[in-house]
């Protein structure tokens, strides 16, 4: 298909598609003349990914490029690549230095019996979240940590069981499954609260 049909297929302006081509986020088509190229389903798929990263997740072109490089070249150590890809997603968290920079997250992960790797961005994220709850006078209790941790491990197991085996697809699945499904999880939690409150109030649902 031509670039106009490609743009139509994804619902983006042709100018945006050309911009992504120039920025190297979208692979070139096959040249069919000096001024035209032909695109296929692989371009449609890639454009959807680029649009998701920039449009929905809100990444800059540079941040999107860093993630796309990991999708394109996952390397031999998929586990570490997945960690770096997720670490490149928002929220941006400041890494801390020092002997024990993440004491709350370290204790929480020990209590849950989970891997603690201070290089992993979500550790700093958990530390900030636990500190904010604590300073508001509503620290996460041990009981709540166990309950949340247990349910979220079940959710993670569900996600991992469905991760594609092919490495490029696995990175894409992990990045989008993290960035795009988090807002679903958060909205569903709020709606579950509402539903639960309605039931306790005696409203039939």
């Amino acid at each position: 298909m031509r670039i106009s049909a490609l743009a139509d297929a994804v619902g983006l302006p042709v100018a945006t598609v050309k911009f992504y081509l120039r920025e190297g986020l979208l692979q070139p088509g096959v040249a069919t003349s000096a001024t035209q190229a032909s695109y296929d389903e692989s371009h449609v798929r890639r454009l959807r990914l680029v649009r998701a990263l920039i449009g929905s997740v809100g990444l800059s072109v540079q941040q999107a490029r860093a993630i796309l490089e990991l999708v394109d070249d996952p390397g031999d150590d998929l586990y570490s690549t997945l960690g770096r890809a997720v670490g490149a997603l928002p929220p941006a968290v400041e890494r801390r230095e020092g002997d024990d920079p993440y004491p709350r997250a370290r204790a929480a992960l020990a209590a849950l019996g989970q891997v603690f790797d201070p290089e992993y961005a979500a550790v700093a994220q958990l530390e900030s979240a636990l500190a904010a709850a604590e300073s508001a006078g509503m620290p996460i209790s041990d009981e709540r940590l166990q309950a949340y941790g247990d349910l979220l491990r079940k959710l993670a197991a569900f996600d991992l069981e469905r991760m594609p085996d092919e490495p490029h697809a696995a990175v894409e699945y992990t990045v989008l499954g993290t960035a795009l499904y988090e807002p679903v999880v958060v909205a569903l939690r709020r709606l579950a609260h509402q539903d639960e409150a309605a039931r306790r109030r005696g409203i039939p649902s």
Copy 2:
């Protein structure tokens, strides 16, 4: 205690405490002279709440005031007050008009057997999240919706069981439990993914 001791107790500059007093976010102390007032534990508690809403959640003074008014005056219909308080939290989502403005969220909540109330802000939030996943070519499958929905209802039941009976405290618990625990949930989900990936890779944790 004097204002300086109050500020110390919470770790805020005296100027910030005075600003919150002027803005009416913090109730006045008991005047002990023409220029001095005395503050107690209720002020410490309130300051922690104000700081959480403005500092951690990132609300404006005006947005924080709207929530504090619901904490201070929960009214007779607690269920509706809780809905309005949570609806005043980020993310800001545009309400849509029309016959069926939230088709994805409506279908998802019907599939889960949960309350569907288009006035509730999280419905618009869920609609956007589902639409973004769909347009990236990774729609939430029925199977995933059921799995996530089931686990998040269990999480919500845990939260509701611990909600204080006293209405002012219930609004405060709901607002902070939503805004401050969401980042904990999101970070724990990412860390559960990492832990699950490590287990599958054969790394002892």
